[in-house]
Structure formats: C-alpha cells, structure tokens
Amino acid sequence: MAEVSVIEAVRGTLDEALAADERVFLMGEDLEAGGVFRATDGLAAKYPGRVIDTPLAESSIIGVAIGAAHYGQRPVAEIQFADFIHAGFDQLCSEASRWSYRTRGEQHLPMVVRTPWGGGVHGGQHHSQSIEAWYAHMPGLKVVAPSFPADYRSLLKAAIADPDPVLFLEHKRTYRLIRQEMDGAPAEERIGRARVTRRGDDLTIVAYGFMLHEALAAADELAGEGVECTVVDLLTLNPLDRETLLEAVRATGKALIVHEDTLTGGLGGEIAAIIAEHAFEDLDAPVRRLAGPDIPPMPFHHELESFFMIDRAKIAAAARDLAAW
C-alpha cells in the first residue's frame, strides 16, 4: 500500500467520517475551496451542504460549533491557523470546556476543533504558534496532537466520535513531510493514551507533534554513540497519560522533555512536575526541558526561526548531556 502523508490522512478521515455519519459536517474559513492546506479538497462537492464556509470570525466559528453540537450534529470546525484561535479562547474555555460539567452531563458537546499549529514554516509570530499549554489547561476540553499519519487517522476518528469537545492539533510542518505506510487496519489509538515509540535504557525523551520526529532522529543519532533513548509520544495532551509517562521515566531514571513552545509556562512544566512528584525516587538526574526561548514565538527570518526552533541536533546535544550526568 502507498505511503500516506499527514494531510492525506486528515483529508481521508474527514471523508470517511462524512460518509459514515450524516450528522458530521465541516465548517471554517475557505473550506469549500478546499482549505488553505487542502485538508478539505473535494469534500464540498462530494457532500453538498455539509462543508460550510464561515465568516472570518473565530469566536463565532467555535460558538456556532458549540450550538450545533448541542443540537446533536457533529461539527468539525477548522481554525485556519492555530494562531487565530485566541479570539475563540473565551468560547472554548468559558463555554465548551464546561458544558458537561455544569449540567452534570445532561448537556454535552460532541465537537471537534481542528487547527494547524507549530513552526518551522517561516510563518512568523502569527502562523507558527504552539498553543497547547493554554488549551490543555481547560478541564473538559480534550487536546490531541499526533505525529504520525496513522495516529492522525485513528485519533481524528476518535475525536469525531467523542461525546466531548476535542481540540485536534495538526502540525503544519508534518502535513507533507511525514509519510507512513498505512496497512489495512492500523492499530487504533484511543484518546488519552501516550505511546512508547522507542525503548532504550539511558534516558527518556518526551515529545509530541513535529518534535517527536526530531526526537526520534536524535535518538537514532545517539544510538550510534551508544546512548539508548526511550521516546514517548504523548499523543493526547489533556488528559495526560501519566502511567505511560511515569513508567517510561522510571525505567530510565532520566527525562528530557522537548517542545517547540516557549519554555516558561509551557506544557513541559506540567510533565516535569508530574515526574518530579511521582517518579522522584527513581530519578538519577535533574528533569530537563528543551523548549523555545522565552520570546514571543516565533520570529520570521529563517536565521531567527532556526535559532528559536528545536531540532534533532539540539535534542541530541541535550540528551548527550543528560546521559552523561
């Protein structure tokens, strides 16, 4: 079977979901023409009336999806770039994430918000952001950030089937770069589970999104030097799979957490805190974080952008350092 890219996996899954359940519909800016990343190419013609262009107004994109999900449809809303979701922060935080809680589950929102995130694409301040730290801090909103096409497929499917709101993060840089053989029935991933992607005894690298791929590349490089890494792909950022995370870290005694987002207040803090509290007795070294510098993410020019972005070389250097601790 042919290799499938991330964007193809996303498009294919949307297509399948539209075919499988007539309550599913897509909404967002420019979707009828196929979307700026072509995630919905051809779908408007194939499913008339179920791929809806919305006005350029993110608060209403999310708020209308809330209403539609409340009614019982299964909206899959797209925010064109994750950077523009912030105008909808209020609708996600004050409304969507609390819908079930405040009605004790009598009312609930089977909705998905998909959005392309992440840097390394010369997008500057407003087309490169990592938004997960903010949105993973809303109990009631699930946040998913896959790395491989097969996981995009199974987790997007799961998100659409989920009775609760899910923020589905698609890393722009992986859209066309990352390809994978998808055999007939790839292992289905469930929301809420992390995965140990690689096993090694020396240290554990925790990552997600594009960074997962860089971490795997760094682990390959280090293996050549005799340093063996475990690599954990978080996959779901809220709720976190503490068990898989802790089990992996306990086995190696050392943890390096990697994300593109700026360091202070990033999701890495939470992960480090979980480790420092619950794997303390197994720790052989400080819990390290490798993340973007504390500057507004992220500058445009490629020289500046490379300075900001974490890559395999930076990960390998940090891991080498930690292994030697």
Binding site: G63, V64, S100, Y101
Partner: protein, 343 residues
Amino acid sequence: MSASEAAAARSGEMLDDYLLSERQLEAMYRAMLLSRRLEERMMTLNRQGRADFVIAGAGQEAAQVGAGMALRPGVDYAAPYYRDLGVMLVLGMTPREAMLNALGKRDDPNSFGRQMPSHWGSAARRVITQSSVVATQLVHAVGVALAAKMRNDPIVAFASCGEGATSRGDFHEALNFAAIHRLPVIFYVENNGYAISMRTEKEMPVPHVVDRAAAYGIQSAVVDGLDAVAVYQTVRPAVDQARRGAGPFLIEAKCFRLWAHSSDDDQTRYRPREELEDWARKDPIALFRARIEEDCLFPPEDLDAIEAGVEVEVRAAARWALDQPDPAPADALGFVYRGDSGG
C-alpha cells in the same frame, strides 16, 4: 366557583384584541406574578443569609413572559439570560425548581448547585446551558439553528440578552452568521436602560438596539416591554416567520430594571430616586391587571385568587426547597467529560 374552577372554565378561544385566549391571558398573569413573588422571596432569603446571590428580572416580567409564550415549549430552543426567570417559568420550570436553583441545591435541575443561581439550563426543556459571560449564548443559538436547518427540523432558536451585551463582539458575530445563513433565530434584547451602573448611551451610539439590525439586513421590531400582550403580539409572528424560513429577527423590548443589578449591588449610588419612583408607577404586572380589568375579562376576585394562590405556592416552594439536600462536597467531582461514568 373557586379560582381554579374558574380557570378551568376559562375559554381557549382567541380574543381578537389580544391574539391570545383568556386561558393564555390568565397563564400570562400567573407567570408574571409568580416570577415577581419568587424573586421577592429569593431576595428575602438573601437578606436572611440563606441565599448567596440573587439576580432578578423584576420589572421585566412582561417582556419575558410575553416573549416566552411565543415559543413552543420543549420544541424550540431557548438561550435565555440570567434575568429571564419569566421565560423559564413559561417554558415549564416549576417554583420548586426555581427555589432549588436560587439555593444552589443538589437537585437544582439547571446545574445541580454547580453554577450561580439564574444560570439556566435544561435538556428536557431545550434550554441551552448558560454561563455568566454575556452574549456568548447568542452564538450558541445560531449554532443550534444552523444544525436544525441542516436537519430540516422546523425549530426556532431564541436567545436573549441585555442591551449592554450588544456591545460585545459575539453579538456582532452571531447576528452576522445568522443573517448570512438565514437561520431561524430570534435575538431578543431586553433593554432596561442600564448595564449595571452604565446607562445606554455608554454602550451604544444609537438610540435603539434595533438600529443595529441594518448592519445585517434583518427584520427587527421595537416593542413596549411593559406590555406583555404587545410583546407576545410582536414576538409570536417573528417566531412563526423564522420557523418558515424568513431568517433571523432582532427584537428589542423597552423595559426597566426595578431593582439593583443584583443582590450585591446598590443602585442608589448611580440611579436617581425620581427615576425609580417614576418607573415604579409603570409596573408591568399592575398594567396588565388594569387592562384585563378594564376589558372586563376576569372578575377582580379571580385575579385576587390568582395572586393569593401564587403567594401560597411561592412560600411553600421556598420552605420545601430549604429542606432539600445540599450537594455533598464530593459532588464537585464527575462529569467533567460526558464520557465519564460520573466518577
């Protein structure tokens, strides 16, 4: 003949001048009175330290009950705002439930003590769960209407707010979206002249909320929110037309806030006494009764009997509710996700 026998005998035929039957008019009066008496009781409980917070619709009952009666209960979706006890009563909330809500009791059907009072919600009655953030609900109603339209379901979505809330971006985004897609939404603004302490001029550069309708090319109406019958006569046709595909409506009911913003507010700080005295003379419930009496629809003793009945019912509901269980501490957990088993 007792009052309730009289009520049972009341005709269901539509009265020409009202577009309502005597039976409906009686229900209207009863709902307005019930709303006021419940809120008075809640305020007493607040002063006694038994209810933490009250936010009331007193003065706006005609606007609420008249509009609520234009909806099909259990069919149409409603996103009423915090003052809308009157709407909720018309949609079927019982006085006992209202009191459970006011006290944040375990069995409050709106949110089981999880939200502040007057944050409505009811799956059975199709009342969309409300937050405190003003105007967000307008967008939710649009989403409900979009979904219903996709499913060819002839419901109407009703969303209300105060005039202050029309300053918010979500108001604009909601009306814009609904108008583009010609969705069956009634945007209903209860303009009581104040947003907490701020008079309308501080919120809007135009004299009427409906002046905003032109930006969306949608139909609109202003109605005297002190006149429950006029409100019904205005909202009902809009609901019917929206249901038949005429697109959204913006309706403004001019009314007034009889009390302070909430039990935490002291309106004498910013509101001239004369204004309040002036308005008190225009109490919508008294106006309604006067019109009914003038038109000789019900004998005054029937109206008195309704009042007495409401009084009794409210006291009983309050007493009953006070005895109902509070939430247990650990009830704070559960249902963060609907997927939860509740644990």
